[in-house]
Symmetry: C2
Subunit: 570 residues, 2 copies
Amino acid sequence: MRSSNYLLATLKETPSDAEIISHQLMMRAGMVRKLASGLYNWTPTGLRVLRKVEQVAREEMERAGAIEILMPMVQPADLWQESGRWQDYGPELLRLQDRHQRDFVLGPTHEEVISELVRKEVSSYKQLPLNLYQIQTKFRDEIRPRFGVMRSREFIMKDAYSFHTSEQCLQDTYQRMYAAYQNIFNRLGLEFRPVIADTGSIGGNASHEFHVLADSGEDAIAFSDSSDYAANVELAEAIASKAEADPATAEMTKVATPDAKTIKTLVEQFGVAAEKTVKTLIVHAANEAGEREGFVALLVRGDHELNEIKANKLAKVASPLTFASEAEIRAVIGAGPGSLGPVNLPIDMIIDREVAVTSDFAAGANEDGFHWFNINWGRDLAMPEVADLRNVKAGDLSPCGQGRLDIKRGIEVGHIFQLGTKYSDMMKVGVLNESGKHQNLIMGCYGIGVSRIVAAAIEQNHDEYGIKWPNSMAPFQVCILPMNMHKSARVQEVAEQLYAELQGAGFDVLFDDRKERPGVMFADIELIGIPHVVVVGERNLDEGCVELKNRRSGEKTTVSIADVVAHLKA
Amino acid sequence: MRSSNYLLATLKETPSDAEIISHQLMMRAGMVRKLASGLYNWTPTGLRVLRKVEQVAREEMERAGAIEILMPMVQPADLWQESGRWQDYGPELLRLQDRHQRDFVLGPTHEEVISELVRKEVSSYKQLPLNLYQIQTKFRDEIRPRFGVMRSREFIMKDAYSFHTSEQCLQDTYQRMYAAYQNIFNRLGLEFRPVIADTGSIGGNASHEFHVLADSGEDAIAFSDSSDYAANVELAEAIASKAEADPATAEMTKVATPDAKTIKTLVEQFGVAAEKTVKTLIVHAANEAGEREGFVALLVRGDHELNEIKANKLAKVASPLTFASEAEIRAVIGAGPGSLGPVNLPIDMIIDREVAVTSDFAAGANEDGFHWFNINWGRDLAMPEVADLRNVKAGDLSPCGQGRLDIKRGIEVGHIFQLGTKYSDMMKVGVLNESGKHQNLIMGCYGIGVSRIVAAAIEQNHDEYGIKWPNSMAPFQVCILPMNMHKSARVQEVAEQLYAELQGAGFDVLFDDRKERPGVMFADIELIGIPHVVVVGERNLDEGCVELKNRRSGEKTTVSIADVVAHLKA
């Protein structure tokens, strides 16, 4: 491709609404242009990268035995009513009506459509397992689209869906897809981690996210420093720091604490360590029928955070998790939220694992203006129900049993789920199995955010001059940069010759034939991040050479014209 | 690909709602499945064909100098308000609102979005010409989607848009795209014709459609039997059959025709030739300001049809063309619609070119129950305004001056337009030109119905057993069909060996490894239309041979196992 026949569309200025580096660089490198909130045009350089990501995903899906199909973006509402998600999905599901006032949605995902296809096409276990995928445009009506294509409304996803008659068969495909995802992210040259994840609104049994590690990531991920264990912080199991509490060292004492309504003020005013305090949170309880009734107290250490996802899953807690109001707390306990604690608490309590191994701790006295100090379980009050209630922190013991946890930020670029029979039960997706009996199918689903990967890769691969593409994702592999070509017939001749040779050798080449100053051309090509630049200039030509510059390493090599192709191939 | 790992999804029965052969065969061959009215899932075999068409279109676009981009499917309404099409487009434009009640459309085409992109990116004539294309999903809310993917609501289109500062530059690109379109359809092995077309609602100056010829086509196309001339029947210019009328041979006579209210009854009851009759149609007229006022008569020969598109373009005719009611006719003329004619007509008339050269003709007397016979222009009444008012008929002189017209049916698969400045004027898409002055850009646009081509190709390439794909579009190039493989280790061994060899040689191969009777396998493979079938059977193996069957020619050849690859390459 010659620059003169191309739309480079590079920008000198960073658009003011681009907050993160990938968004800034995608705008400046001429990869995307905003059409409206969360809607982007992919300009030529961006689309080239996008297509390369698609192709790697496609090849690995085929290798994993998945078969490509293409489902519509516009989906009939009745399928979503069948699955129950017409009600459950929330406003990210864009609903619309056609000219006949029939309801449709713009597909944010395709579980319903694939279920409809498979229940019509597949009738016997002999046709299974089946793993179907597509690379297709999705729409999610994000309330606040941001970070360019990182969180846009219209985006491109690779989504696959597998169907099985046995749990073992699902496990086999799940493992094969897990491996395919690792291959994809490895081939794309990304630093990533598979992470144990929540199954969220899609539902199901087990799930892994694939995160590209980057400081701008929206998710916090907990890693073992000594094993492969990684989990979304929201999901990571929190382990107690010791097997049992240390022995008590002092008598339980009631202390007047008129100005201490938070852990922070208690620590400051009374010199008690935060690790020796416990905070008590009151939430609506569930009765045995699962109905909302009464209240329950959740206790975590003063320096820890309640994990609401974990709390929400407890049988005694009403779902969705709802905190009691101050008025409700006063009515039930007789004290304000700043003075609560386990001693003489008139309602059920569940304490975090770490609270259970804390000795000599301070907590509110359930009486405004008073705390108990030196509380010890067993001695001062009976041990209540214990559960994993808190977010993990860096330095915690890893739940895998090896090492301690570190926490890093990640960008979710892939997500695989064991759905089980959630959709096939709702939508009656079944076959006759080997015993001749009807059986609803076990499903897996597997997504990759193709357009998001482009942004995530930039978060990991850039410097102050621009993008540093991994070879596999680069819009062009090589740029020929002739200096002052329009003043030198010799430069032009060699540049044209190399352009023909490199194209002939199968390289994806940009020939920067613009009438621009070399400085402008260097800046653009570094910004765009083409991995290899062949600089053709008068000085080196005197020795029959050109200069090769490696964008990632910065390394410069002088190579004879005849050796350029061989050198780049190596 | 092994059939056992694939979703063949062939059907024995033809679905009852599939009216045309391509829809029937696409369903039976497992290429598409209907999700809802006008919405189709592309199953694996169909998607393979679709991708091959896409790839040919992409290669020819690149060769023609067009640059690939990707624009969103969801488009903000404000751009459509700017272009005026928010009001003009009609209900095929699906409108929707996002969660913030902002208006959007599902893009049926992308003139507005590309205009927005180019007006922001291009500021100087030096960046031009520019020709940008995409292969992307479109939505048109057809009132009656039908014929499968031939007229679906969601479909895939290749659309390109070019921008120029001079008319000559547009002409150059238009010619290059015209040639690219011919290359695409030639490479796909289709019998097609470029056809002079109406510019329709997209607007602009000149336009060609590309039609695949097929009896099921929705469009009638008029061709010269002696030149390249081809035009949509709606557009084809109708030429008079002679330079001037023959001399009069009889006196004009008033005849009582109480039972002749149509040309047909007049011909039957009075033995007059249909070519010697004229019918008179009354429509609402336009005054000089273009407002609807009064009536005007349009006269065509009794055996000809009024062309409403041509009539609608006449200055004296109110637009949109509206016929007078019988009551209006009686009020103005004093006779019913079956007794109208040019003699003593109290309103203006416009006559067709052929009427102007007709002598001794019969027409109504503007008096119920009476006709004049033997009317002759000049002698009996003055020659009124003459215009091209009728549809052409097979056998008419070609307007190109060479030969006569033939009429065939065609399926429109491509359409190229010279848009001029219609959009750039409305949306202010301009640059500073070489003289440093602001100039709105001249545009071209170029569409191909990628998904429709798949159906159109089947209309042209099928027999009673199924599809006969041209090589370039076939889902697989070769099928290995082993007979009773599960009973013969030798058959299995040779089939596996050929599968590996053919894949190694770069062929797209389907290995039909199902445990099915040979008859079932042959029927499926013929239905799907794979061009080359390698039949591996015990009998031929005795001589070290297999049978090659050509799906298109039906030819069968016995070839030694070692020669299969070479034979298929040739």
